[in-house]
Amino acid sequence: MYRKRSAQALVAMSALLAASANAAAPSAEEMWEIIQRQQAQIEALQAKLAQTEEALVETDVKVEATADLIEQSTLAEGAALSAASWAADTTLGGYAELHYNNLDNDRDGGSDKDQIDLHRFVLFLGHEFSEKTRFYSEFEIEHALVEGGEDSGEVEIEQAFIEHNFGGAQYMKAGLFLMPVGILNETHEPDTFYGTERNSVESRIIPTTWWEGGLAMNGEILPGLSYDAAFTSGLFLDPDEGQWSIRSGRQKVAEAKADDFAYTGRIKYTGVAGLELAATLQYQEDLYQGELDDSIDAILYEAHAVWQAGPFGLRALVASWDIDEGIEQFQTGASKQEGWYIEPSWRVFDKLGLFARYSEWDNQADGGGDTEYSQVDFGVNYWLEENVVFKFDYQIQDAPDGKDQYDGFNLGVGWSF
């Protein structure tokens, strides 16, 4: 009985399912319609995708074109505006250094040197006339204050020249320019050297900062080997004042006597990273510019090496004047004026460097007497920024008998831009 009912229920359920299945399944025609509709949708989507891709490409092109236009119009506007164009061709820079000297004079009765001084305030101004020709100048105020007729500060034009590039690394300068000699004479921004004050050899013998008026050429001979040649105004030692020290001969191209000239040549090798080897030879026709019956000619020999290997540095320089013996009428031994120094340094880390320097110089070296100075310096530079430096150093000087002898410390802050 139970089995019979179950079989009947099963048959009824199967019939019901079959009927239901027959009602849900589309016919072949219906299936064809569905496929066609789906195909149309796919084609519509594909068309839309193609349009989107095309629009994307167009957008890319438009964005690039817009960027081109913006960048070009920025340049064009700059070129169109004469003021902006002038500004783009004109460069401004400068440097300054403030020094505090606390130096004791070891000689009995000698005065100490305790002073604070804005030693130099300098502005560079340059203008490019074309890609090949430019003007460059350096305007300097020394010791902050200039008073008429007073022996205080100085206003100086240390550079004012036209430079022309003949192509490649071949240049000509005409005007007033720094002499190609020594380490500091051409590169003396305070953040580029150790020690508050410039070293005495490059002040008393070379004599930095040294500029003359005339014509100069410089360029590359071989990879790493370059030359400088200069035809310039000469030094002038005033016989009426009995001058004999080389440093006092700088005329600074201020209504300078030009009876006699100077010829300078330098060879420099910089073919290894961190290394500079250079030698300068200069001939002065007459240090007294024809004021004496006989001319007093002179030759300067200078050579130096700069070596920077990682954190370790070394500077060494020797300079010597060989002067006609006629100069001895003003000062015994002055026909030879010479000096040298050596300066090792260690950049302990990026912002801090230590140095030591030993120097000797003598402006009466041909006299045989006690005329030689020597000095030991040691100290630290701290670079607050790449171009902003604080300096501290201590100096121990050994001066000839009867001359001021200064020991003590110097502090400085300097910057360039």
């Binding site: 960027a67 960048e71 192509g167 590359e220 000239f261 910089t270 790449e386």
Partner: protein, 177 residues
């Protein structure tokens, strides 16, 4: 010495004139063309030219890390696989230096000076200087991972090259290798 000047100066003036006549034949300031730089960077391979658009945030980040971001809205570069090549310009002392930097795997493959326009410091284009950058990467503080010895008297040009090398490494990190 009384016989000196006039004749010697005339000779000197003559020498100067001869020199002036000869020097215009000297080489141009462009040392390497873009094509030659890319040929050196990628060899026979044909790199794709791509563009990196720098957002304000990226520009600020470059300023913070490298201390400098390039001008313009975008920077073009060349890519082949993981290797990218960048041509950048930055002022040395007064004039722009054009530098090509090839980077692969976060390290510099090579640096080449395409053009140098200053009157001092042209030594930066020689291999003894540029080869110091090979293999260097960007350290955590944004500096290069190794020391680079400079050129005496060309401090600003050397700094400009270092800065461009650091920027190329930073840009390469932005586009992913």
């Amino acid at each position: 010495m009384a016989c000196r000047p006039a004749r010697a100066r005339a000779y000197l003036a003559g020498l100067v004139l001869v020199w002036l006549a000869l020097v215009p034949a000297a080489q141009a300031e462009q040392y390497l063309s873009r094509e030659d730089f890319l040929a050196g960077a990628f060899g026979a391979a044909s790199p794709s030219v791509e563009t990196l658009w720098l957002t304000a945030d990226q520009r600020a980040a470059a300023e913070a890390v490298v201390g400098w971001a390039p001008g313009g809205l975008r920077t073009r570069y060349w890519r082949e696989g993981e290797r990218t090549a960048w041509i950048l310009e930055h002022i040395g002392k007064e004039k722009p230096i054009t530098l090509g930097v090839t980077v692969e795997g976060d390290s510099i493959v090579s640096v080449a000076v395409l053009a140098f326009r200053e009157s001092r410091g042209w030594e930066i284009r020689y291999p003894f200087f540029t080869e110091q950058f090979d293999g260097l990467s960007l350290a955590g503080d944004g500096k290069l991972s190794g020391p680079v010895d400079g050129i005496t008297g060309a401090t600003l040009s050397v700094r400009a090259v270092e800065r461009m090398a650091r920027l190329a490494l930073w840009l390469d990190a932005q586009v992913g290798s």
